[in-house]
């Protein structure tokens, strides 16, 4: 049976253009009357992941975007890249109705059409909350694989095999049954080039429009200010007040110095063998060996 995959892409304000903050509560707006909307790198990687499933396993890939007219260009880009069809969940005010509402709308559409797999980027280009994939997973009641850098289908078991990228270069390979939501880490996929000719052809292809209404939920959380980025103070370890001024200066200037009490006999002079034993003993005491 052919895998039916839905890839969600957001039409985000391209940050290369000047943005301004307007209104109360404050929100973003492009200074130019004809703003540029684009697909973010994470969503682009999700699109590439979906298309790789199409090429390698014959999956049917549908692109979906939610919002106003700005979604049209983004969906045409998806069709130009190779998606089989595209859906525009359209409605005024959807862009400001919040990530949870966006997930609700998409979940309703997914349930209506019986998809097996939903792919999305792990964070959008603009807000970058990273909450859409997790919210969608909760709303659908499907398992979520977060931060995937490789996706393939085990045709025998019908399960997905994915590689996740974690901290410190650690990686985890997992198997996940379908249906599932997969949140893609952009480090794993290089988006393919879309030629001008393909984009022009795609602009002639129809996009299915589904009108929906955006509903905000009152949660008590309010945006009270949007301003330029400014650095916040970062805590630093402060030497104890019980030390002398010279000792406190020494600690503040010696960045590599621990504020814990010094190891007894911390300076070692002796034979090479004894020095090696001393180092090994220290490493064992501190749990490195």
């Amino acid at each position: 049976m052919r895998l039916r995959a839905l890839v969600c892409v957001k039409a985000a304000l391209d940050p290369i253009q000047p943005l301004r903050v307007v209104g109360s509560p404050p929100e973003f707006q492009a200074a130019d009357p004809q703003p540029i909307f684009t697909i973010g790198p994470a969503d682009d990687a999700a699109l590439e992941a979906a298309l790789s499933l199409k090429e390698n396993f014959g999956a049917q890939v549908t692109a979906l975007s939610l919002g106003g007219p700005e979604c049209e260009n983004v969906l045409h880009q998806c069709l130009a890249a190779g998606c089989d069809d595209a859906i525009h969940l359209s409605g005024d005010g959807l862009a400001h109705s919040g990530t949870w509402n966006a997930a609700e709308c998409v979940a309703a559409e997914v349930s209506r059409r019986a998809y097996d797999l939903v792919l999305c980027g792990d964070a959008s280009l603009d807000d970058a909350s990273g909450a859409f994939g997790p919210f969608l997973s909760e709303r659908l009641g499907w398992p979520l694989v977060f931060s995937a850098v490789e996706v393939s289908l085990n045709e025998q078991s019908g399960q997905l095999t994915l590689l996740r990228l974690l901290e410190h270069g650690d990686r985890q390979r997992v198997a996940c049954p379908l249906p599932a939501v997969v949140s893609i880490n952009p480090l794993g996929f290089l988006p393919r080039y879309r030629s001008v000719l393909r984009i022009e052809d795609a602009e002639a292809r129809p996009i299915e429009r589904v009108p929906i209404a955006g509903e905000s939920v009152e949660s008590g959380l309010q945006v009270i200010e949007i301003g330029p980025a400014r650095r916040r103070p970062r805590r630093m370890a402060v030497p104890g007040a019980g030390l002398s001024a010279a000792q406190r200066m020494q600690q503040m200037m010696g960045r590599g110095e621990s504020l814990k009490p010094a190891v007894k006999d911390k300076l070692f002079e002796g034979s090479v063998e004894a020095a090696v034993e001393r180092i090994v003993q220290y490493l064992q005491e501190q749990g490195f060996l």
Partner: protein
Amino acid sequence: MPFCVWVISEGDARRRVGDCTLEALGEGRALADGLAGRVHAVLVGADVSAQCEQVKKQDVDAIYRLEHPLLTHHRAEVWLAVLAGFFTRQSPGLILVSATTLGRELAPRLAARLRSPVVTDCVWIKPGPARDIRLVRASHGGQFQVTYSFPVGGRLVASLRPGVVGIALPTRSRVPEILSWQPGISDEQPVIREISFMPGDPHSISLNEAERIVAGGRGVKDRAAWETIEDVADALEAAVGGSRAAMDLGYIPRSRMIGQTGSSVKPRLYLAAGISGVTHHLAGVEAEHLIAINTDRSASIFRSAALGIVGDLRQVLPRLADKIRALRGKEKARTP
């Protein structure tokens, strides 16, 4: 009911509390103090005894131990089920998690299950003037910062970006209450099955993520001596770095240089061989344990080192690498 900050602790494979959790505990403490509240640490894992001992030294009012054999790391769906069950039975407040890979998945999903709002990837959390919580997060690629307000009294989930607020040293010693909570996990295996786990390759991992670093400097006189640095790094499963001098001598690329004009590193272990310890190198080093090897007894690196060895690295390092490999071989032979 006093305001509570619930900090979900995240440990590593060696069962230590991560730096990101220490940052969250410090930020939570500052917030709770400003709102006359409490800080509760929530430790989740198969065995959290080591984490509990570390968290006791932080300024927390209570520690909750949630232990079960299935609660190993990187099992977000199991953590989620346990934490959702736990928090529905606790007083509301701020649930704070670090914005690690686990936290970025956990925070929105937990908020959805608890029907609470969520603010992800915060860079700053402080008490507001109107008995509210003020949270700041970056937006649009860091060009802007968005400030949110949430009144005290409800439940909010937030994730804190690691490495931004810094770790606060506890200013008070407080004896926390320690409570155990028995998670009810069904015997069914989680839906997502782990096939394999691959630790990061120390040769290619970014220096600012490396837990262990072996670094060389001007005291490494030739290529043969530099190979002893790489040999010890291999034995210790550590990344290789160096001072500016090592880069100028061609032993390391620019990406592996540590110092004021290079990478800033925060490893658990920093083994510095043939490095004098000038300020512009040590400005990039914030190590938990610094071991220095140098022939010059008066080298300034010894003032910063937890253990200093006055000796020739060309003699010490090869024997050290052999000794570590021998110990590792014995350990592997003992482990079935």
